[in-house]
Symmetry: C2
Subunit: 247 residues, 2 copies
């Protein structure tokens, strides 16, 4: 299942920095992207003064100038067909598949031959939140040692991007997946349906939304099926609402 | 010639930081070493306040505390049988063999099964000098793109160490090489002999010393031959000096 990708396109891979506060780290991430030939930087809720300061970083000014800003992870990855994030490999991974960086590299290169992949990196202090992880199809693991698993942000970005360009080997994905925005629409109508049918209590908080998002990502649903399923559930919601009105 | 090394020992690989002035970079290098399980840090002429400041770096305090300080590259690599340095790949490499990082990794792992390898990293501003490079057996090239070849120090260290632990594949070295201190002794007596015989003018500066060091490193001489040759040339020097006295 491993082949040499001849259409592996670096511009189909985005680095997404989530809530990064340290300008040196933003600059370092951009520097590594520039070193290895990646141009698509997206930032979610950056700390504004840091982001401005980072824009003067050595050797990556151009890249930072063209970086796109988003208000949420969902918006930043809306057009992406694969979303992954790094983890130091602890309890919270149990909800996701976890792949060693080398395997992750093959899969991301495979995705970048037809779709669009996003790699999320969290803030230095807290990494990615469970909500951030819920946007991921799976997590990747840089082979750090157990006693000191947590990497500096700029170094984690550099090592990940090096692995991506190190080899052209690409694993073809098993099928075309829906983009994150389509998954988000499906998730929203699903949550609404679960609320309507009483599966979830109103105001039960974020956990159900995240749970459904993770489930839908695990399904690796294709664009047509996502649309069909969204339509089916929307109809169920309509029916449930109209029954309530009648009753 | 590629085999799986079963005796690849991370403690036989030293990271040598030459004239590093930025405490954040020293700390970042130590952090990456700690992440990937490397413990041997050597620093050459660090800027003292920076080095002290770096010792408080997150997650690498232990490693920085045990770092050894040296007054010169020669002293820092004296016990090493292989010395390499990274280069962005420009003119000055012509004097040395240059190997892609993956191949360098196999060779360094091979060396670390019996000898001791040093990887030099230069200061952020100027990198390694020609004098620093003259201590190297060969140079290694991280596959950065041509338009932006120069990496941040901490990121270059992280990517190099990741490549070293990524795979256990090791290339056996063609034979045991003399340690740098033995090569240095041979170089010194050679330079003295060249001076005595009139090949080099006195006070001709550093260039001859560097030229001879590079030549001896290229020869990949084994410990016994280094000792024999040093003895031979020492005898020639003695003869030349005694003839002068007689004449």
């Amino acid at each position: 299942m491993i082949g040499l990708a001849n259409s592996f396109d670096l511009d189909r891979i985005c680095v997404v920095l989530v809530a990064t506060r340290n300008p040196l780290n933003i600059g370092a991430a951009a520097r590594a992207m520039s070193n290895f030939g990646f141009g698509q930087l997206r930032v979610v809720n950056p700390y504004e003064p840091s982001f401005r300061e980072a824009k003067s970083a050595v050797g990556a000014a151009e890249l930072l100038k063209s970086a796109e800003e988003f208000g949420s992870v969902a918006e930043a990855v809306a057009d992406c067909t694969l979303v992954v994030g790094p983890t130091a490999g602890r309890d919270r991974d149990l909800q996701h598949g976890m792949r060693p960086l080398e395997e992750a590299g093959r899969l991301i290169r495979g995705e970048a031959s037809w779709g669009r992949a996003a790699i999320l990196f969290g803030s230095e202090k807290r990494g990615l939140s469970n909500e951030d992880f819920s946007h991921c199809h799976w997590l990747m693991r840089i082979p750090t040692r157990e006693g000191q698993p947590s990497m500096n942000l700029g170094q984690a970005v550099a090592v990940t991007l090096y692995e991506l360009i190190r080899s052209p080997e690409a694993a073809p994905s098993s099928g075309k997946r829906a983009a994150a925005a389509e998954i988000e629409r499906l998730r929203e109508v699903m949550v609404e349906a679960l609320r309507e049918c009483g599966y979830e209590k109103p105001n039960a908080g974020k956990s159900m939304a995240e749970k459904v998002r993770r489930m839908v990502h695990r399904m690796a649903i294709n664009p047509e099926d996502a649309e069909t399923l969204t339509g089916m559930i929307r109809k169920m919601v309509w029916k449930m609402k109209s029954r309530q009105g009648a009753g």
